[in-house]
């Protein structure tokens, strides 16, 4: 990683921690973008170079994680079918989370219950991610899967994974449990029968 890229990441992380501190002190609504930027010691303009809205800070590295999934789907692995490729992409995305990122998931879940704008942001991001993953799956397997097939398959796996994460978050469980549950969801959604014998 180059120096410039490292600096960029450090600023991004500083913005996320500043935001979390401030949300903890004053609640999500009581904090402005200008205040987050000030605490992270950068300009408001710099904030907006990293995040389009205050809600997006809570998504953390979601865009980078999605890119990992899209890259995985573009890769040609001999003998792989659409389900195999999608499972591989999902597992890479699930395992990518740094501990800070996973902790962010907990904060996002807790805050989203009282804040419709955070929920709206999460829903929009999820649909956008599903659209891109389905398009990537089709591009890779255009002779084997049509638009409806790709959309349904991606939606099934993503919904299963989100449902698992939400269930575990709602129960207040620890972070490794969340990743385990998400992996189990991929297993259930794609390989139900084979796994159950």
């Amino acid at each position: 990683m180059g120096r410039r890229e490292r600096k960029k990441l450090a600023t991004r992380e500083a913005l996320v921690s500043a935001a979390l501190e401030l949300f903890g002190e004053r609640g999500f609504d009581g904090v402005t973008v200008a205040e987050i930027a000030e605490r992270a010691d950068v300009s408001t303009r710099t904030f907006f170079l990293h995040f389009p809205t205050k809600e997006d800070v809570l998504a953390g590295d979601a865009d980078a994680r999605l890119q990992i999934g899209l890259d995985a789907l573009a890769e040609h692995v001999p003998g792989e079918g659409p389900e195999d490729a999608l499972a591989r992409a999902m597992r890479l995305m699930i395992d990518d989370g740094r501990p800070e990122e996973l902790a962010l998931g907990r904060v996002r879940y807790d805050l989203s219950r009282a804040h419709p704008s955070i929920r709206a942001n999460s829903v929009r991001r999820r649909f956008e991610a599903e659209k891109l993953l389905a398009a990537a799956l089709r591009e890779r397997f255009d002779d084997r899967i049509d638009e409806i097939g790709a959309a349904a398959l991606v939606a099934a796996v993503m919904a299963a994974t989100y449902a698992a994460a939400t269930t575990v978050l709602a129960s207040g469980a620890a972070v490794p449990t969340i990743q385990d549950a998400m992996h189990r969801a991929v297993d259930i959604a794609l390989w139900g029968k084979r796994r159950n014998g």
Binding site: A120, A151, A155, M158, G192, K193
Partner: protein, 200 residues
């Protein structure tokens, strides 16, 4: 004095249907924001007060019938056929729900889609309603198959089938398929999720 319950229920349903018809026509002609509850009531030839006996808001008309469909799905999930596999009960519930969609559902869904594209909060609240219904389906499925599936397994299976169904329907809806085409796509979405879950 009192009317027969059967007749009263029929009249109630007819009024409800008239309100949905009127709302769909007005939403299509003048947009969702440009339509008032008073206008919907007037076109359906009832008072605004009657409107509010049936629907809490304009938004509620757009998702109208959803509450009844949730009950229908719960009925299927709570009463599996003899020897029926968990996954097949789930699929039967989804197929039953698709077949029960009213004729205007494709038009209503199209209106919801357009509105959701303009209004993130509407999209989120719609999505939240779906999540709440799926949580109830998962509980019912787990209760019907306590040996076969734990709570997490039930939640995951329900989410996969329902969201695959909606995603497939959405592709067809965006392609401006006929109501029949949208329904066929939704059935296919269920089958795709079902294959993954190891049924079918």
């Amino acid at each position: 004095m009192a009317e027969q319950p059967g007749r009263r229920e029929r009249k109630r349903l007819a009024t409800r249907q008239a309100l949905i018809d009127a709302a769909v026509e007005l939403f299509e002609a003048q947009g969702f924001d440009g339509t008032t509850v008073a206008q919907i009531a007037e076109r359906a030839d009832v008072t605004p007060r009657t409107f509010f006996l049936h629907f809490a808001s304009k938004e509620d008309v757009l998702t109208g019938g959803a509450a009844a469909r949730v009950e229908l799905v719960l009925d299927v999930l709570s009463a599996p056929g003899p020897g029926e596999h968990m996954v097949d009960t789930l699929a039967r519930a989804a197929h039953t729900m698709i077949d029960d969609l009213p004729e205007q559902e494709a038009r209503l869904a199209w209106l919801r889609l357009r509105l959701a594209a303009q209004d993130q909060r509407f999209q989120a609240s719609m999505f939240r309603g779906r999540g709440a219904a799926e949580a109830r389906y998962a509980q019912a499925l787990h209760r019907s198959f306590p040996e076969e599936v734990d709570e997490l397994g039930a939640t995951v299976s329900v989410a996969a089938v329902m969201e695959a169904m909606y995603a497939a329907g959405l592709v067809a809806l965006r392609a401006r398929e006929t109501p029949e085409g949208v329904r066929a796509a939704m059935h296919r979405g269920v089958e795709i999720a079902l294959r993954g879950l190891g049924g079918g």
